[in-house]
Symmetry: C2
Subunit: 334 residues, 2 copies
């Protein structure tokens, strides 16, 4: 049993893109677990755009991470000690274990994962929260129908790549927005999207018109900003705009850019709806089973970008916003 | 039977607030009605914010009024001649009869109205499209529940005043946003709103917090702009934002202001949905019966601002945007 945990502590509220000066690396003694608690050795830590919001001191769906606290993050790890009867030493678990090498946390809220079914890091992506987010966001909030055309932004990311694949598995058309020809080729050639739009180089509006001739029934938005604004003009009647994230806006110093074309919601009798995957916690098992079955059957592809070392947290996290990665971004504990 | 119709013709696409130079008054011979058509003497013409959109050459839920065409408007009138077996000379009808003294139009799309049940002008307001808009927007799109708090902008207008009253009749709380103390007193003292907020003089955010302590379940938006943006920050969980109009933005020369706080939809798991009352045409009778019953029982109050003379169309229409009127704005044919 290690005596100390290496922890990434939030010490400043970032302005703009977070940098290493917003965090400190500390060694802390690992406490004795109280009743109901586990000690977990983290193996892989999930880097997600939502974490940028958790660094901000504003009303949101969860309280912000406090200054001086361990940065909140999903992770997978191995149980070193357990005082929760639902978990035993040697089990593998996933949950909000934080950006640290050793976590001492309540067992409640953790889920057991099986390293024989899939590599452990997969439980942060194709079988984890990004996949759950895509699953419930597309099927429940987006109310997907088989003859729909789905347009998704951030399509080469952990959530977006699942949105497109689930849309295809359900019989719908999928068109992805991503940055650069490499990602666009990945969407079409490896993930099976019907088309991809390179927002850095293409005329986005013209390309949506060309690839979505019956307009867009579900726009799954991870990005916000100008892509959301353009997509609003291309909605089909009674379209659903799923507000999952706004990665283009999270690091804005001034107020974020609102969608000036929102009155298209009236013209198209469409709705724009926000959601938080945590609300579907009671149905995670249902989604896990479906996703696991698809993965076992070879129907889901995924990519990971894995960076090693807690020291590299801030620089790695920035790649979510610069786009300098493909698929799920994971920090491997060194 | 009059030989000529005085018609208000759209001759320019207005930039900003429409003025009399955007219209011409013409006398045209009244044609012989074809099979299925009626000749109607218009008595009252409805002035509605949506008409500003119809003057614009852009994709919308109806085609724009063409240059050189009679300006589109709802109206009530008396049938002078009918070649539609559903209507007879002397009947009173409402429908899209246009800004003109005599209309020759298909009977299809017109509705008979009864001058014994209510003054004819009421069929343009408390029993007309504004009331239908409030009824279906609030109950269907807004999915009103009895314990909801409803916030409505443009609350002293034809639609907003009905939204508040219908909310109260359904057991909900109603808070209105209006411009100036006179309108605010009218909302509370005559229409029975629980509270009114004077957006011209009050601290709107603080006043919403004070008057909606459990936050806002339904925000019925007629106004757009900064009021929408503030309201988004005050939504209750699973709130519905009903996009009915954006009167603050219709005359903007540059692109309209989008709601920069739209990510509150995610924080509150809320939806923002646009609608067009015409989609509910098959259910107009249901709404008419309910509204008529409430009116007969003395449960609905309304005000009208009536201006006489087709010559005054442009100046009268501008009052919708300057706020210089109370309740339903009507043009009486001279």
């Amino acid at each position: 049993m290690p005596q100390t945990s290496t922890q990434v502590i939030l010490v400043n509220r970032p302005t703009g893109l977070p940098t290493s000066s917003d965090f400190e690396i500390r060694s802390q003694p690992v406490p004795e677990p109280a009743a109901g608690e586990l000690v977990v050795a983290n193996l892989y830590i999930s880097l997600d755009p939502a974490m940028r919001g958790w660094m901000r001191d504003a009303r949101s769906y969860v309280p912000p991470v406090g200054l001086g606290e361990v940065m909140r993050a999903g992770a997978v790890g191995r149980v070193l000690a357990s005082r929760d009867p639902n978990f035993a030493e040697g089990d593998h678990v996933s949950g909000l274990l934080g950006v640290q090498s050793i976590a001492c946390v309540p067992g409640k809220g953790l889920r057991k994962v099986d390293p024989k079914l899939a590599p452990l890091s997969a439980y942060l992506g194709v079988l984890g929260m990004p996949a759950m987010t895509a699953y419930f966001g597309l099927l429940e909030v987006g109310a997907l129908a088989a003859d729909d055309t789905v347009l998704v932004s951030g399509a080469a990311g952990a959530v977006g790549s699942m949105v497109g694949q689930i849309a295809k598995l359900k019989g719908a058309r999928a068109v992805g927005l991503a940055g650069g020809p490499e990602k666009c080729q990945h969407l079409v050639n490896e993930l099976g999207f019907d088309a991809a739009i390179d927002y850095k180089h293409d005329d986005v509006k013209a390309k949506i018109k060309a690839t979505c001739p019956d307009r867009v029934n579900v726009y799954f938005d991870n990005v916000g900003g100008e892509l959301l604004n353009i997509a609003l003009t291309q909605l089909a009647m009674r379209a659903r705009v799923v507000i999952c994230g706004a990665i283009s806006q999270y690091n804005h110093l001034e107020k974020i850019e609102g969608p000036s074309n929102y009155m298209s919601l009236l013209v198209s009798r469409a709705r724009m709806e926000g959601f938080v995957v945590f609300d579907y916690a009671k149905r995670y098992d249902e989604a896990s089973q479906q996703l696991g079955a698809w993965l076992s059957a070879g129907k889901l592809s995924y990519r990971e970008t894995v960076i090693e070392g807690l020291d590299n947290f801030a620089d790695s996290f920035a790649k979510l916003f610069t786009g300098d990665k493909l698929g799920k971004l994971v920090l491997k504990v060194g």
